[in-house]
Amino acid sequence: MVGIVGYGAYIPKYRIKVEEIARVWNKDPNAIKNGLLVYEKSVPSLDEDTATIAVEASKNALKRANIDPKDIGAVYVGSESHPYAVKPTATIVAEAIDATPELTAADLEFACKAGTAGIQMCMGLVESGLIKYGLAIGADTAQGAPGDALEYTAAAGGAAYIIGKSDVIAEFNGTYSYTTDTPDFWRREGKPYPRHGGRFTGEPAYFKHVINAAKGLMEKMGTKPEDYDYCVFHQPNGKFYIRVAKILGFKEEQYKVGLLTPYIGNTYSGAVPLGLSNILDNCDGGERILAVSYGSGAGSDAFDITVTDRINKVKDKAPKTAYYLERKEYIDYAIYAKFRRKIKM
């Protein structure tokens, strides 16, 4: 059965606290922290972007997979912050992990769910026998306009998944997607910052798609929330995540390990891949995971995953997600503005 052969995470070292952003815009930090359940977010350094994050995560995935990178037949990088508008990130990643030249590669964009879309594409190519291994990465260096609500959460990070059929550390029991045309968040060509529909991003967008994808998958698989040891959902903030988990009937012990946004912010395409990597770091063979991404625009991809005993052999072969969560240095708004190229010279 097609599954995950290796996985790897990466989160930049720098963090900015909600208090520091709120200080600049004269807002009440406690209202934001309690309202969004976000306390700080990750910030990429001046020399980091989606390509460098994707490469670091992919190298960690390769350490766990123990395969020849030349056997990777497809590289897909899902992101809404590719360094170039035209020129693929995926070729940079493929070259940097020494997988070139016999492979297909492409960049994907679907707001926050482009990473899981890449996983599904690799599943199809592997299952059909067209390729031996596929590499799917969700990574972002998301930007929020100065002073906008998104500025408290738009963060950087990513995770990579090598999909294959042999020596899997987790099997995909099934996948299900739910997609409609819902303009809740967008960025027009040439514009530096996205715009969003405020409250419209909630009920008709995030909640409708995540709930329908989760329910659709559980109906397809014949499962209930209690059949899963862990669940992870897209996490634009902590509040939406916990609310959707409770609506679907999941308990805190199932959803807490996958929730990273309160401490690193919303890593967009990296969010569910990173939440899932933290679960894989902490789970055992035989345990079952439900993962549901969400991308504005809008759609959700849901996955039913069973971990194999091999997980314990590979967990420690690369830095765990917790290592990157704890490795941090706080910066102030001025340095943040410089790192995020908000200062124009």
Binding site: S45, L46, D47, A51, T52, V55, E95, A96
Partner: protein, 131 residues
């Protein structure tokens, strides 16, 4: 600029050097002749581990144009496990925390960019190995 960056992609992305099979010396960047063995040179490509230690370093305060926004930053000579010494920037570390002998590992970062509409050059830098 474009062709010059492209020509070095292999060595800069994956730290590909050469090893002289006659004397065992490792060189980075790759070269044509082993200065020790001269005509007996027997070079093979070698993928370097990227792990090593700081051999010496300098803190750059007055930076060239492409690197002004990063100053002050650390440029170090890294002695790799394989023996080759290579020059690179140290990142994720304050200049005052760098010391000779500090264990480091290679990371993949943006090196420079040709303005805001030109090609971005990527390659290796080094960060401290924690733990």
């Amino acid at each position: 600029m474009v062709v010059r960056s492209w020509r070095h992609i292999k060595e800069r992305y994956n730290l590909i050097g050469v090893i002289c099979k006659n004397c065992g010396t490792v060189y980075f960047p790759p070269r044509e002749i082993c200065p020790k063995c001269r005509r007996k040179t027997k070079f093979e490509e070698i993928k370097l581990s990227g792990r090593g230690k700081v051999y010496t370093y300098s803190v750059v305060h007055v930076a060239p144009k492409d690197f002004e926004k990063q100053a002050p930053y650390v440029i170090a000579i890294i002695e790799l496990e394989e023996g080759a010494k290579i020059t690179g920037q140290i990142v994720d570390c304050k200049p005052e925390d760098v010391y000779i002998g500090m264990p480091v590992e290679a990371v993949f970062r943006r090196i420079k960019e040709d303005g805001d509409d030109g090609v971005i050059t990527y390659g290796y830098k080094f960060r401290p190995i924690e733990n």
